[in-house]
């Protein structure tokens, strides 16, 4: 499957990014090169091989349900472009929650 410029536009839209026409064309070519590269794997017979999601074979480490110190409010809000009354402030969000 070849990636089209329309596909790049959709992916850019989902990532909330805007690109010029030249950039879109550049990404289209780059995406296709990446897919061709990974597509090399299709030459292998992978019948019965489980997909590997992680490079390591180990169980997930777990932590005990114990409270550890959080950041101070000042630290938490320190890098926020806008904050007041202890809250992060963002441009007004209209509509319901997603997800």
């Amino acid at each position: 499957m070849k990636v089209t410029t329309a596909e790049v536009e959709r992916i850019a839209g989902l990532a909330k990014l805007a690109f010029s026409q030249a950039e879109k064309e550049q990404f289209t070519a780059e995406f296709n090169r990446m897919l061709d590269y990974v597509g090399k794997l299709d030459e292998l017979d992978l019948e019965g091989v489980e997909p590997a999601t992680h490079p390591l074979h180990s169980d997930a480490p777990l932590r005990e349900d114990v409270v550890t110190p959080s950041l101070s409010r000042e630290e938490a809000l320190g890098n926020a472009p806008a904050a007041h009354d202890g809250f992060f402030s963002v441009p007004k969000v209209i509509g319901g929650e997603e997800g």
Binding site: R10, G13, L14, K16, T53, H54, L56, S58, D59, A60, P61, L62, R63, E64, D65, V66, V67, T68, P69, S70, L71, S72, R73, A76, L77, A82, H84, D85, G86, F87, F88, S89, V90, P91, K92, V93, I94, G95, G96, E97, E98, G99
Partner: protein, 502 residues
Amino acid sequence: MNGTGANSHSNPGLVSAPFEVVIGLEVHIQLQTRSKIFCGCSVQFGAEANSQVCPVCLGLPGALPVLNEKVLASAARLALATGCRINPVSLFARKNYFYPDLPKGYQISQFDQPFASDGGMTVTSEGDAQRAIRIRRIHLEDDAGRSIHAEAFVAEDETLLDLNRCGVPLLELVTEPDLRSPAEAADFMQRLRQLVRYLGISSGNMEEGSLRCDANISLRPAGSDGLGVKTELKNMNSFRHVERALAFEIARQGALLAAGGRIEQQTLLWDPARGMAEPMRSKEEAHDYRYFPEPDLMPVAISGEWVEELRRQMPELPEARKARYEREFGLPAYDAGLLTGDPGVADYFERLAARIEDKKLASNWVMGEVMRASNARGCSVLELKMTPEHLAVLLDSLSRGRIHQQAARRIFAEGLENGLSPAEAIEREAGAQIHDTDQLRMVVREALTSHPDETEAWLGGKDKLAGFFTGVILQSLQGRADPRAIMALLQEERKALLEKRG
């Protein structure tokens, strides 16, 4: 039973429409842990905004999540209780979307390899029929933060964010579309709340958002197996709202289909104040969450031994407990259902029942005085100063006739305040009883003369009125007499009056 009456019963407006209702639920259960799912921040409710956040839950660069083992155990308990298969390996996935209350830009959830699959629960359908509802999956995920729009300190052009809720542990439970009426959906939610409370994994409080429910709903021609176009209902934060919102949406879809219209797939928000559901304002484009395996979290491997260990530690579940109450204590199904509805009430009852012969008397008191007292105080029955052990002493005196019902209620009320053993109060009340027959006879006669109509009816053969008079007399004596003595005196008086008339 399968949905045959769902339309006509739940929706009077749809009587003629030959549609079957199809409902599936997605339920979010907030777990009762101390710390968040992937970091050590506290989940304590009511803390100052943004005071329980750290690089992990804020999604700061380089921070790495580590799974809370209690979350895993809670998920396993729910899976076992609902007959789900716990998958030997499950995988975390990133669900990508942009929203300000989600600072990471993705929710850590599970997608194609959930924690547990293929279980079921029972709901009560019409006519008390029990129906099996299949559970498709249970998976783990983190919660998002809270957006604040409508407060005095929020400016016109901004939204404020409290990210304390980011990373609070959730289980999502998804049912198959097996529910056939709003009442069944509400019953499912109530049973699920009961279950999570028994398991001790969540408060199950819908109003506070510890139990949240979205519903997928569609109609199809009765008898058909296909699925109609569905809508998704959100924002139903009580059992009553679940029922009302679903009934509203069934009526809306039914009217539209009956008029030859088509259902549009969309998400609707229930507005409890206006009693209607309206489409959410959202962007045109369909969601594309681009799920992919979470690289920062290793697959979760579950050992059979660990599951067996948890299985051994499972508490008795609501239905088994209810059945046992009917069998072991000889209680009616109604009592058994009410007493086992909440694990705290059931524990209270069992401590009481272990010390008292008359289980029905114990049941009546727990369902009445005890639950009323806990409701009035907004606390668990186990927190009442009147302990089941003290109540057992009290009820023992009551059943042996040493004190009367009214006296027992007085002592109960005192015990709720002072937490003392009722022994002394029982002595006092028993001592205050009027044993003098002449004095009691006066009161009996007075009751008869002040209720001439009832007295006539009683003499005329309406024997049940003896109970009425006993009540009147005890009332006037504030319960300070043995009802059996009063009964005996009433019969003597009746005989005398009838003889006088010849």
